[in-house]
Homo-oligomer: 210 residues x 2
Amino acid sequence: MTGETTARGRNPRGAGGRLRDDIVAAARDLLVEQGHETAVTLRGVARRVGIAAPSIYPHFDSPEAIVQAVVVETFHTLGSYVSDAIGRLDDPRERLLAGCRAYITFGIENPNLYGLLFSRNRQLGGQSPEGRPLSEEDLRGGAFGLLVGGVDDCIRAGISSATSAPATAIDIWVAMHGIVSLRGAQYQMPWPPRDVMEPPILLALARIQP
Amino acid sequence: MTGETTARGRNPRGAGGRLRDDIVAAARDLLVEQGHETAVTLRGVARRVGIAAPSIYPHFDSPEAIVQAVVVETFHTLGSYVSDAIGRLDDPRERLLAGCRAYITFGIENPNLYGLLFSRNRQLGGQSPEGRPLSEEDLRGGAFGLLVGGVDDCIRAGISSATSAPATAIDIWVAMHGIVSLRGAQYQMPWPPRDVMEPPILLALARIQP
DNA sequence: TGTACATCAGTGAACGCGCGTTCACTGATGTAC
DNA sequence: TGTACATCAGTGAACGCGCGTTCACTGATGTAC
């Protein structure tokens, strides 16, 4: 995530794909800094990368397609982030809490990218005019899939009294999403420290006795 | 909330303020339809109202100021909506559930306006370049204040084991916000019916035994 | 080994559009005398 | 009761800007013969 405008030479033959990566990285940087989807303009991205505006067309049909590429990348990043956090833990309760904590941390540390993932009119398979729809796989195989698995492990271990892992995962997900969104947007609220606020919410919704 | 472009005559003397209301209504309509804050352009609003673009300046310094007026209006609408829902109920548990249900209903039925209220860079007192900051009063006296009161009533009635009404209200608020945001954005998810999903979440977070 | 050619990875100028903003103005209506 | 004037509630034309998109082009590099 460098994001500086650097002098760049022409790519060697066969490495035209490098420019594609540079374009996505520049768009990501613009989104991180500006926050708004409208910050990603074709000319703005080109300036950032250090190329002429029309040079983007061989790689992306529209600015929206560039944003979509950032969305796909960010879903993968978020999934890896959560996956890494629970990777070396055994206890199902600890795994669940650690995964949720990682999810929320990612959202708080990357509020603009996180907001992009779940903004209206950007849903899985939905409205976006050009971008290819995200498959259910993109979500199921990602952070949400890990959450369902984490809840299921707690149910099987007998520490959660929940009856449906997917329904319980949805409960937890909406709470995590609310925490991320509102902490990011309403930073003037007297928020309790995360370690005080989050575990009771998560355990209550996971139907785990504290 | 009419929103049609109508022929309009000049306002009589002393009624210049009417145009202000028309401008805010047009901006609200654009936000409802388009969803994005960038849909509110000075020229677009003027077209919608049926006036020349410069005629907006005596009433608003910038498009952002128009959006801010919609935000203020919407906060009041949301507060009234919740207030009406709990108005004729006595039982504290019923009042809390009814108020929460109304909040979520407002959000689901007005997803774009709701999203505007809590979008990043639009927080109480924050970043917006021109708009006057929302006072704490705007929130405290509104829906969030009612929520704190509702939780407090349940604690005093002995049906909630929560120890802090404000902290518990925050827990409930983030969950409601998550429900509204994600139901609006991710309509492909297999959402349970609201009556099945919401009360258990709200009661669990309110620390009320079911 | 040379050389003509194709391809790749872009460039630079130009276009039309909607935008925010400015400026001088217009014409109805109330008010002072 | 008339009339000059101030004010209110706007208008219309023009500007410069950044945008997406198009078009013909350029120059390095690999490849066929």
